[in-house]
Protein backbone atom coordinates (compact mmCIF):
# COMPACT_ATOMS: atom_id res chain seq x y z
CA UNK A 1 0.00 0.00 0.00
CA UNK A 2 2.74 2.33 1.00
CA UNK A 3 4.53 1.61 -2.25
CA UNK A 4 1.29 2.18 -4.18
CA UNK A 5 0.86 5.58 -2.55
CA UNK A 6 4.47 6.32 -3.30
CA UNK A 7 3.95 5.46 -6.96
CA UNK A 8 0.81 7.62 -7.06
CA UNK A 9 2.62 10.58 -5.55
CA UNK A 10 5.47 10.18 -8.02
CA UNK A 11 2.99 9.97 -10.91
CA UNK A 12 1.21 13.10 -9.68
CA UNK A 13 4.50 14.92 -9.47
CA UNK A 14 5.49 13.85 -12.99
CA UNK A 15 2.07 14.83 -14.31
CA UNK A 16 2.25 18.25 -12.69
CA UNK A 17 5.82 18.89 -13.72
CA UNK A 18 5.19 17.63 -17.24
CA UNK A 19 2.23 19.93 -17.73
CA UNK A 20 4.02 22.84 -16.21
CA UNK A 21 7.04 22.62 -18.37
CA UNK A 22 5.22 21.88 -21.55
CA UNK A 23 6.23 18.29 -21.93
CA UNK A 24 4.13 15.40 -23.07
CA UNK A 25 0.68 16.70 -23.65
CA UNK A 26 1.51 19.90 -25.38
CA UNK A 27 -0.75 22.92 -25.44
CA UNK A 28 -2.04 25.66 -27.63
CA UNK A 29 0.83 27.99 -26.97
CA UNK A 30 4.15 28.39 -25.35
CA UNK A 31 4.08 27.44 -21.72
CA UNK A 32 5.83 29.67 -19.25
CA UNK A 33 6.04 28.40 -15.71
CA UNK A 34 7.51 29.79 -12.59
CA UNK A 35 10.77 27.98 -12.38
CA UNK A 36 11.02 25.51 -9.56
CA UNK A 37 13.56 26.63 -7.04
CA UNK A 38 16.49 24.43 -7.74
CA UNK A 39 18.98 23.96 -5.02
CA UNK A 40 22.47 22.96 -6.01
CA UNK A 41 24.10 20.17 -4.08
CA UNK A 42 27.88 20.06 -3.93
CA UNK A 43 28.91 18.82 -7.36
CA UNK A 44 30.77 15.76 -6.08
CA UNK A 45 27.54 14.34 -4.67
CA UNK A 46 26.31 13.64 -8.21
CA UNK A 47 27.13 9.99 -8.89
CA UNK A 48 28.46 10.55 -12.43
CA UNK A 49 30.47 13.66 -11.58
CA UNK A 50 33.79 11.76 -11.45
CA UNK A 51 33.52 10.88 -15.13
CA UNK A 52 32.71 14.46 -16.21
CA UNK A 53 36.29 14.94 -17.33
CA UNK A 54 35.35 18.03 -19.36
CA UNK A 55 34.62 19.94 -16.13
CA UNK A 56 37.30 18.81 -13.70
CA UNK A 57 40.15 16.37 -13.11
CA UNK A 58 39.40 13.23 -11.14
CA UNK A 59 42.34 10.96 -10.47
CA UNK A 60 40.30 7.79 -10.00
CA UNK A 61 38.55 8.34 -13.31
CA UNK A 62 41.85 8.88 -15.11
CA UNK A 63 43.10 5.63 -13.55
CA UNK A 64 39.97 3.92 -14.88
CA UNK A 65 40.62 5.37 -18.32
CA UNK A 66 44.11 3.91 -18.26
CA UNK A 67 43.37 0.49 -16.86
CA UNK A 68 40.05 -0.05 -18.65
CA UNK A 69 40.63 1.73 -21.95
CA UNK A 70 44.41 2.13 -22.16
CA UNK A 71 44.02 5.92 -22.44
CA UNK A 72 46.40 8.31 -20.75
CA UNK A 73 44.53 11.58 -20.46
CA UNK A 74 45.93 15.05 -19.91
CA UNK A 75 45.02 16.31 -16.42
CA UNK A 76 44.35 19.77 -17.89
CA UNK A 77 41.87 18.57 -20.53
CA UNK A 78 39.02 20.10 -18.53
CA UNK A 79 37.71 23.68 -18.31
CA UNK A 80 38.65 24.07 -14.63
CA UNK A 81 35.12 24.69 -13.46
CA UNK A 82 35.09 26.14 -9.94
CA UNK A 83 34.28 23.28 -7.53
CA UNK A 84 32.01 25.47 -5.42
CA UNK A 85 28.35 26.24 -6.07
CA UNK A 86 29.02 29.99 -6.10
CA UNK A 87 28.43 30.37 -9.85
CA UNK A 88 25.73 28.08 -11.20
CA UNK A 89 23.93 30.27 -13.71
CA UNK A 90 21.30 31.18 -11.12
CA UNK A 91 18.99 33.89 -12.44
CA UNK A 92 20.26 33.51 -16.00
CA UNK A 93 18.00 32.54 -18.92
CA UNK A 94 19.73 29.95 -21.06
CA UNK A 95 18.14 29.35 -24.46
CA UNK A 96 18.61 26.14 -26.41
CA UNK A 97 17.50 25.68 -30.04
CA UNK A 98 17.68 22.00 -30.91
CA UNK A 99 15.73 18.79 -31.57
CA UNK A 100 13.44 17.37 -28.87
CA UNK A 101 13.98 17.70 -25.13
CA UNK A 102 12.95 15.15 -22.52
CA UNK A 103 11.50 17.69 -20.10
CA UNK A 104 10.62 14.88 -17.68
CA UNK A 105 14.26 13.97 -17.18
CA UNK A 106 15.18 13.57 -13.52
CA UNK A 107 18.25 15.77 -14.01
CA UNK A 108 16.28 18.55 -15.72
CA UNK A 109 13.39 18.78 -13.27
CA UNK A 110 12.79 22.40 -12.44
CA UNK A 111 15.29 23.52 -15.03
CA UNK A 112 12.90 24.08 -17.91
CA UNK A 113 11.09 27.40 -17.72
CA UNK A 114 9.50 27.52 -21.18
CA UNK A 115 9.31 25.46 -24.34
CA UNK A 116 8.11 26.01 -27.90
CA UNK A 117 7.81 23.72 -30.88
CA UNK A 118 8.17 25.70 -34.12
CA UNK A 119 6.64 22.97 -36.29
CA UNK A 120 3.53 22.36 -34.22
CA UNK A 121 3.22 25.85 -32.71
CA UNK A 122 2.70 24.47 -29.22
CA UNK A 123 4.79 23.77 -26.15
CA UNK A 124 5.32 20.05 -26.72
CA UNK A 125 9.04 19.54 -27.33
CA UNK A 126 9.27 15.93 -26.16
CA UNK A 127 11.31 13.66 -28.45
CA UNK A 128 9.19 11.49 -30.71
CA UNK A 129 11.78 8.80 -31.32
CA UNK A 130 14.71 7.15 -29.59
CA UNK A 131 17.21 8.82 -31.87
CA UNK A 132 15.77 12.30 -31.30
CA UNK A 133 18.19 12.64 -28.44
CA UNK A 134 20.38 15.55 -29.35
CA UNK A 135 18.48 18.29 -27.53
CA UNK A 136 18.41 16.30 -24.29
CA UNK A 137 22.14 15.61 -24.55
CA UNK A 138 22.99 19.26 -25.23
CA UNK A 139 20.73 20.62 -22.48
CA UNK A 140 22.14 18.19 -19.93
CA UNK A 141 25.68 19.35 -20.62
CA UNK A 142 24.67 22.98 -20.18
CA UNK A 143 22.17 22.89 -17.35
CA UNK A 144 21.56 19.51 -15.69
CA UNK A 145 20.68 20.01 -12.03
CA UNK A 146 23.10 19.26 -9.24
CA UNK A 147 20.52 17.11 -7.48
CA UNK A 148 22.55 14.01 -6.62
CA UNK A 149 20.81 11.98 -9.37
CA UNK A 150 23.35 11.76 -12.18
CA UNK A 151 25.47 14.49 -13.71
CA UNK A 152 25.87 18.20 -13.11
CA UNK A 153 25.51 20.75 -15.88
CA UNK A 154 27.93 23.63 -16.27
CA UNK A 155 25.15 26.00 -15.17
CA UNK A 156 23.00 23.77 -12.95
CA UNK A 157 20.75 26.57 -11.73
CA UNK A 158 20.19 28.36 -15.04
CA UNK A 159 16.62 28.51 -16.34
CA UNK A 160 16.27 26.66 -19.64
CA UNK A 161 14.21 28.11 -22.52
CA UNK A 162 13.95 25.48 -25.22
CA UNK A 163 12.83 25.78 -28.85
CA UNK A 164 12.39 22.63 -30.89
CA UNK A 165 13.07 22.74 -34.62
CA UNK A 166 12.33 19.83 -36.96
CA UNK A 167 15.94 18.80 -37.44
CA UNK A 168 16.19 15.63 -39.45
CA UNK A 169 13.42 16.91 -41.65
CA UNK A 170 13.51 19.95 -43.89
CA UNK A 171 13.65 23.25 -42.04
CA UNK A 172 12.70 26.56 -43.62
CA UNK A 173 14.46 29.88 -43.17
CA UNK A 174 11.33 31.37 -41.62
CA UNK A 175 11.24 28.59 -39.01
CA UNK A 176 14.83 29.36 -38.00
CA UNK A 177 13.98 33.06 -37.78
CA UNK A 178 10.92 32.21 -35.67
CA UNK A 179 13.13 30.25 -33.26
CA UNK A 180 15.39 33.26 -32.68
CA UNK A 181 12.43 35.59 -32.40
CA UNK A 182 11.03 33.33 -29.68
CA UNK A 183 14.32 33.69 -27.82
CA UNK A 184 13.99 37.46 -28.13
CA UNK A 185 10.41 37.33 -26.84
CA UNK A 186 11.57 35.29 -23.83
CA UNK A 187 14.36 37.81 -23.24
CA UNK A 188 17.00 35.12 -22.85
CA UNK A 189 20.61 35.93 -21.97
CA UNK A 190 22.47 33.25 -23.90
CA UNK A 191 21.42 30.90 -26.72
CA UNK A 192 23.07 27.59 -27.53
CA UNK A 193 22.98 26.35 -31.13
CA UNK A 194 24.62 22.97 -31.62
CA UNK A 195 23.76 22.90 -35.33
CA UNK A 196 24.41 24.75 -38.56
CA UNK A 197 23.56 24.85 -42.24
CA UNK A 198 26.97 25.27 -43.85
CA UNK A 199 25.15 27.52 -46.31
CA UNK A 200 23.58 30.45 -44.51
CA UNK A 201 21.08 32.80 -46.07
CA UNK A 202 20.74 36.49 -45.33
CA UNK A 203 17.40 36.26 -43.52
CA UNK A 204 18.74 33.88 -40.90
CA UNK A 205 21.96 35.85 -40.51
CA UNK A 206 19.97 39.05 -40.06
CA UNK A 207 17.81 37.49 -37.32
CA UNK A 208 20.85 36.19 -35.45
CA UNK A 209 22.75 39.47 -35.69
CA UNK A 210 19.65 41.37 -34.55
CA UNK A 211 19.44 39.26 -31.39
CA UNK A 212 23.14 39.63 -30.62
CA UNK A 213 22.94 43.40 -30.96
CA UNK A 214 19.50 44.29 -29.66
CA UNK A 215 18.56 41.51 -27.22
CA UNK A 216 18.88 41.89 -23.43
CA UNK A 217 17.73 45.50 -23.60
CA UNK A 218 20.54 46.40 -25.93
CA UNK A 219 23.32 44.62 -24.04
CA UNK A 220 23.13 41.87 -26.62
CA UNK A 221 22.35 38.18 -26.34
CA UNK A 222 25.37 35.89 -26.37
CA UNK A 223 24.82 33.27 -29.08
CA UNK A 224 27.03 30.20 -29.14
CA UNK A 225 27.33 28.02 -32.25
CA UNK A 226 29.04 24.68 -32.72
CA UNK A 227 31.71 25.07 -35.40
CA UNK A 228 30.97 21.74 -37.09
CA UNK A 229 32.47 18.27 -37.28
CA UNK A 230 33.79 17.92 -40.81
CA UNK A 231 37.44 18.61 -39.93
CA UNK A 232 37.21 21.30 -42.55
CA UNK A 233 37.45 25.06 -42.85
CA UNK A 234 34.36 26.90 -41.58
CA UNK A 235 32.50 28.24 -44.61
CA UNK A 236 29.37 30.34 -44.99
CA UNK A 237 27.97 28.90 -41.81
CA UNK A 238 25.99 30.41 -38.94
CA UNK A 239 29.08 29.91 -36.75
CA UNK A 240 31.01 32.25 -39.06
CA UNK A 241 28.92 35.30 -38.06
CA UNK A 242 31.22 37.81 -36.36
CA UNK A 243 28.79 38.49 -33.52
CA UNK A 244 28.44 34.85 -32.38
CA UNK A 245 30.88 32.57 -30.58
CA UNK A 246 32.07 29.69 -32.78
CA UNK A 247 33.19 26.76 -30.66
CA UNK A 248 35.49 23.93 -31.67
CA UNK A 249 36.29 20.72 -29.80
CA UNK A 250 39.20 19.43 -27.76
CA UNK A 251 39.81 15.90 -26.53
CA UNK A 252 41.05 14.08 -23.44
CA UNK A 253 44.63 14.81 -24.55
CA UNK A 254 43.90 18.55 -24.40
CA UNK A 255 44.35 18.86 -28.16
CA UNK A 256 42.04 19.87 -30.98
CA UNK A 257 39.76 16.99 -31.94
CA UNK A 258 40.43 15.84 -35.50
CA UNK A 259 36.84 16.41 -36.57
CA UNK A 260 36.66 19.98 -35.30
CA UNK A 261 36.20 22.64 -37.98
CA UNK A 262 38.65 25.52 -38.05
CA UNK A 263 39.26 28.86 -39.72
CA UNK A 264 39.52 32.58 -39.16
CA UNK A 265 36.04 32.78 -37.61
CA UNK A 266 36.73 30.14 -34.94
CA UNK A 267 36.60 31.76 -31.49
CA UNK A 268 37.03 29.25 -28.69
CA UNK A 269 37.54 25.60 -27.87
CA UNK A 270 35.92 23.37 -25.25
CA UNK A 271 36.02 19.63 -24.59
CA UNK A 272 33.91 17.79 -27.12
CA UNK A 273 34.88 14.18 -26.80
CA UNK A 274 37.14 12.14 -29.02
CA UNK A 275 38.32 8.79 -27.69
CA UNK A 276 36.41 9.63 -24.50
CA UNK A 277 32.82 10.90 -24.73
CA UNK A 278 31.00 13.60 -22.78
CA UNK A 279 28.75 12.02 -20.17
CA UNK A 280 25.30 13.58 -20.37
CA UNK A 281 21.54 13.07 -20.12
CA UNK A 282 19.79 10.52 -22.32
CA UNK A 283 16.03 10.25 -22.60
CA UNK A 284 14.63 8.66 -19.46
CA UNK A 285 14.39 4.90 -19.11
CA UNK A 286 14.32 2.75 -22.19
CA UNK A 287 13.69 5.74 -24.46
CA UNK A 288 16.70 7.31 -26.07
CA UNK A 289 19.96 5.72 -27.09
CA UNK A 290 20.92 3.89 -23.94
CA UNK A 291 18.88 1.66 -21.65
CA UNK A 292 19.32 4.08 -18.76
CA UNK A 293 18.87 7.77 -18.11
CA UNK A 294 22.38 8.85 -19.08
CA UNK A 295 24.84 8.45 -21.91
CA UNK A 296 28.14 7.53 -20.33
CA UNK A 297 31.59 8.48 -21.59
CA UNK A 298 32.25 4.97 -22.92
CA UNK A 299 28.78 4.26 -24.26
CA UNK A 300 28.46 3.02 -27.81
CA UNK A 301 26.40 6.17 -28.37
CA UNK A 302 28.62 8.46 -26.30
CA UNK A 303 28.05 12.16 -26.91
CA UNK A 304 30.85 13.81 -28.86
CA UNK A 305 31.32 16.61 -31.36
CA UNK A 306 31.27 20.38 -31.40
CA UNK A 307 27.62 19.96 -30.33
CA UNK A 308 28.96 18.87 -26.96
CA UNK A 309 31.52 21.70 -26.77
CA UNK A 310 29.09 24.54 -27.46
CA UNK A 311 26.84 23.96 -24.39
CA UNK A 312 29.91 23.92 -22.17
CA UNK A 313 30.69 27.43 -23.36
CA UNK A 314 27.03 28.45 -23.05
CA UNK A 315 27.06 27.22 -19.47
CA UNK A 316 30.17 29.23 -18.65
CA UNK A 317 28.53 32.29 -20.22
CA UNK A 318 25.61 31.74 -17.81
CA UNK A 319 28.05 31.59 -14.89
CA UNK A 320 29.68 34.85 -16.02
CA UNK A 321 26.33 36.59 -16.40
CA UNK A 322 25.29 35.42 -12.95
CA UNK A 323 28.43 37.09 -11.64
CA UNK A 324 27.64 40.29 -13.53
CA UNK A 325 24.33 40.69 -15.39
CA UNK A 326 25.42 44.09 -16.67
CA UNK A 327 28.09 42.77 -18.99
CA UNK A 328 27.44 43.35 -22.65
CA UNK A 329 27.76 40.59 -25.21
CA UNK A 330 31.10 41.99 -26.31
CA UNK A 331 32.36 42.11 -22.73
CA UNK A 332 31.36 38.51 -22.07
CA UNK A 333 33.15 37.38 -25.21
CA UNK A 334 36.21 39.42 -24.28
CA UNK A 335 36.33 37.79 -20.84
CA UNK A 336 36.19 34.33 -22.41
CA UNK A 337 38.81 35.10 -25.03
CA UNK A 338 41.32 36.79 -22.74
CA UNK A 339 41.13 34.10 -20.07
CA UNK A 340 41.27 31.04 -22.36
CA UNK A 341 44.12 28.54 -22.12
CA UNK A 342 46.52 28.76 -25.06
CA UNK A 343 46.73 25.02 -25.66
CA UNK A 344 48.07 23.08 -28.65
CA UNK A 345 51.30 23.27 -30.60
CA UNK A 346 50.22 25.94 -33.06
CA UNK A 347 51.50 29.46 -32.45
CA UNK A 348 49.00 32.11 -31.42
CA UNK A 349 49.26 35.51 -33.14
CA UNK A 350 49.74 38.90 -31.48
CA UNK A 351 46.00 38.98 -30.73
CA UNK A 352 46.20 35.65 -28.98
CA UNK A 353 44.47 33.50 -31.56
CA UNK A 354 45.07 31.04 -34.38
CA UNK A 355 42.79 29.35 -36.87
CA UNK A 356 42.81 25.93 -35.19
CA UNK A 357 42.19 26.85 -31.56
CA UNK A 358 40.68 30.32 -31.87
CA UNK A 359 41.59 32.18 -28.67
CA UNK A 360 42.17 28.85 -26.93
CA UNK A 361 40.23 26.52 -24.68
CA UNK A 362 37.88 28.21 -22.21
CA UNK A 363 38.90 28.28 -18.59
CA UNK A 364 35.90 28.86 -16.34
CA UNK A 365 37.90 29.54 -13.20
CA UNK A 366 40.03 32.16 -14.95
CA UNK A 367 36.96 33.77 -16.52
CA UNK A 368 35.18 34.07 -13.19
CA UNK A 369 38.24 35.33 -11.38
CA UNK A 370 39.15 37.87 -14.01
CA UNK A 371 38.96 41.50 -13.07
CA UNK A 372 35.65 42.83 -14.40
Amino acid sequence: MRSFLYVCSIMAFFLFAGCGSGGGGGGDETTIVVNHIRSASPFDRNPLYPQQWALHYDRSFYNELFFKHDIVGDEDANIHMLPTTQYTGKGVKLGVIDSGLDVSHEDLFGAVAATYNVATKDADVMPTSNDMNHGTEVTGVAAASSNEKGIVGVAPQASVYFVKLPFGQAVSESQIIEAFEKMKEWDVDVVNCSWGSGDMDIGVKDAIVDLTRNGRNGKGVVIVFAAGNEGDRIGNDESSIDEVIAVGSTNIHNERAGYSNYGNTLDLMAPGGEYVGITTTDQMGSAGESSGNYLLYDSRYAFAGTSASAPIVSGVVAQILQANQNLTREEVIQVLETTADKIGDIAYDENGRNDYYGYGKINAANALRSDR
Binding site: S99, A170, I177, G196, G203, D206, T306
Partner: protein
Protein backbone atom coordinates in the same frame (compact mmCIF):
# COMPACT_ATOMS: atom_id res chain seq x y z
CA UNK B 1 1.07 13.92 -76.92
CA UNK B 2 1.77 12.70 -73.40
CA UNK B 3 5.19 11.52 -74.55
CA UNK B 4 6.02 14.92 -76.07
CA UNK B 5 4.95 16.64 -72.87
CA UNK B 6 7.15 14.31 -70.83
CA UNK B 7 10.14 15.05 -73.05
CA UNK B 8 9.43 18.77 -72.69
CA UNK B 9 9.32 18.53 -68.88
CA UNK B 10 12.45 16.39 -68.82
CA UNK B 11 14.28 18.87 -71.04
CA UNK B 12 13.34 21.64 -68.63
CA UNK B 13 15.00 19.71 -65.86
CA UNK B 14 17.99 18.81 -68.00
CA UNK B 15 18.75 22.21 -69.43
CA UNK B 16 17.03 24.22 -66.78
CA UNK B 17 15.27 27.51 -66.84
CA UNK B 18 17.40 30.34 -65.51
CA UNK B 19 16.59 29.86 -61.85
CA UNK B 20 18.43 31.81 -59.21
CA UNK B 21 17.83 33.85 -56.10
CA UNK B 22 19.77 36.61 -54.42
CA UNK B 23 21.39 35.94 -51.04
CA UNK B 24 22.07 39.58 -50.21
CA UNK B 25 24.31 40.77 -53.03
CA UNK B 26 25.30 37.27 -54.05
CA UNK B 27 23.51 35.50 -56.88
CA UNK B 28 22.84 31.82 -56.13
CA UNK B 29 22.22 29.80 -59.30
CA UNK B 30 19.88 26.87 -58.96
CA UNK B 31 19.80 23.62 -60.87
CA UNK B 32 16.26 22.20 -61.04
CA UNK B 33 15.83 18.59 -60.05
CA UNK B 34 12.77 16.33 -59.90
CA UNK B 35 11.33 16.30 -56.43
CA UNK B 36 11.05 12.54 -56.35
CA UNK B 37 14.84 12.34 -56.60
CA UNK B 38 15.45 14.55 -53.59
CA UNK B 39 15.48 13.93 -49.88
CA UNK B 40 12.96 16.76 -49.63
CA UNK B 41 10.18 14.79 -51.30
CA UNK B 42 6.87 14.77 -49.52
CA UNK B 43 6.65 18.52 -49.12
CA UNK B 44 3.75 20.15 -50.90
CA UNK B 45 3.76 23.00 -53.38
CA UNK B 46 7.50 23.39 -53.74
CA UNK B 47 10.14 23.40 -56.45
CA UNK B 48 13.33 21.49 -55.77
CA UNK B 49 16.84 22.42 -56.79
CA UNK B 50 20.49 21.87 -56.14
CA UNK B 51 22.46 24.93 -55.13
CA UNK B 52 26.07 25.54 -56.25
CA UNK B 53 27.32 23.74 -53.13
CA UNK B 54 25.43 20.63 -54.28
CA UNK B 55 22.94 20.95 -51.45
CA UNK B 56 19.33 20.04 -52.14
CA UNK B 57 16.92 22.86 -51.38
CA UNK B 58 13.23 23.43 -51.83
CA UNK B 59 11.52 26.70 -52.61
CA UNK B 60 7.90 27.06 -51.50
CA UNK B 61 5.38 29.72 -52.46
CA UNK B 62 6.69 32.03 -49.75
CA UNK B 63 9.32 34.74 -49.54
CA UNK B 64 11.04 36.63 -46.73
CA UNK B 65 11.29 40.38 -47.21
CA UNK B 66 12.91 43.06 -45.09
CA UNK B 67 11.54 46.52 -45.82
CA UNK B 68 13.59 49.66 -45.23
CA UNK B 69 10.37 51.62 -44.98
CA UNK B 70 6.78 50.44 -44.75
CA UNK B 71 5.44 53.38 -46.76
CA UNK B 72 4.92 51.53 -50.03
CA UNK B 73 4.36 47.97 -48.90
CA UNK B 74 0.85 47.83 -50.37
CA UNK B 75 2.17 48.77 -53.78
CA UNK B 76 4.74 46.04 -53.71
CA UNK B 77 2.25 43.44 -52.54
CA UNK B 78 -0.14 44.39 -55.34
CA UNK B 79 2.56 44.56 -58.00
CA UNK B 80 3.75 41.02 -57.34
CA UNK B 81 0.45 39.56 -56.17
CA UNK B 82 1.73 38.83 -52.67
CA UNK B 83 -0.03 38.59 -49.32
CA UNK B 84 1.28 38.95 -45.80
CA UNK B 85 1.43 35.60 -44.02
CA UNK B 86 3.31 36.64 -40.93
CA UNK B 87 5.30 39.47 -39.42
CA UNK B 88 8.59 37.88 -38.41
CA UNK B 89 9.88 40.99 -36.65
CA UNK B 90 10.12 44.72 -37.23
CA UNK B 91 10.29 45.28 -40.98
CA UNK B 92 10.69 41.58 -41.78
CA UNK B 93 7.73 39.71 -43.24
CA UNK B 94 6.86 36.29 -44.56
CA UNK B 95 4.85 36.83 -47.74
CA UNK B 96 2.84 34.34 -49.76
CA UNK B 97 3.01 34.11 -53.57
CA UNK B 98 0.81 32.28 -56.07
CA UNK B 99 3.41 29.58 -56.73
CA UNK B 100 7.05 28.71 -56.00
CA UNK B 101 8.04 30.09 -59.41
CA UNK B 102 6.18 33.33 -58.67
CA UNK B 103 7.95 33.45 -55.30
CA UNK B 104 11.37 33.24 -56.93
CA UNK B 105 10.48 35.93 -59.46
CA UNK B 106 8.99 38.24 -56.85
CA UNK B 107 11.96 37.82 -54.51
CA UNK B 108 14.43 38.61 -57.27
CA UNK B 109 12.49 41.66 -58.37
CA UNK B 110 11.95 42.96 -54.83
CA UNK B 111 15.60 42.46 -53.95
CA UNK B 112 16.41 45.32 -56.34
CA UNK B 113 13.63 47.61 -55.12
CA UNK B 114 14.77 50.81 -53.35
CA UNK B 115 12.52 50.37 -50.30
CA UNK B 116 13.68 46.85 -49.61
CA UNK B 117 16.74 45.71 -47.69
CA UNK B 118 16.58 42.13 -48.97
CA UNK B 119 14.15 39.62 -50.37
CA UNK B 120 14.64 35.90 -50.77
CA UNK B 121 12.55 32.76 -51.09
CA UNK B 122 11.79 30.99 -47.81
CA UNK B 123 14.41 28.35 -48.57
CA UNK B 124 13.81 24.88 -47.15
CA UNK B 125 16.74 22.55 -46.58
CA UNK B 126 18.14 20.01 -44.18
CA UNK B 127 20.17 21.42 -41.34
CA UNK B 128 22.65 19.42 -39.42
CA UNK B 129 22.90 18.74 -35.74
CA UNK B 130 26.51 18.58 -34.72
Amino acid sequence: MKKIFSVFVASLYLFGADYYYMNGDKRVDLTPMPQKETALRGLKNIMTFKNPAGQEIAIPDKIIVKFKTLDNTGDYLNLYDLKVLKKLRGGVYLLGAKSPKAAIEAANALNDAPDIMYAQPDIIKKRHLR
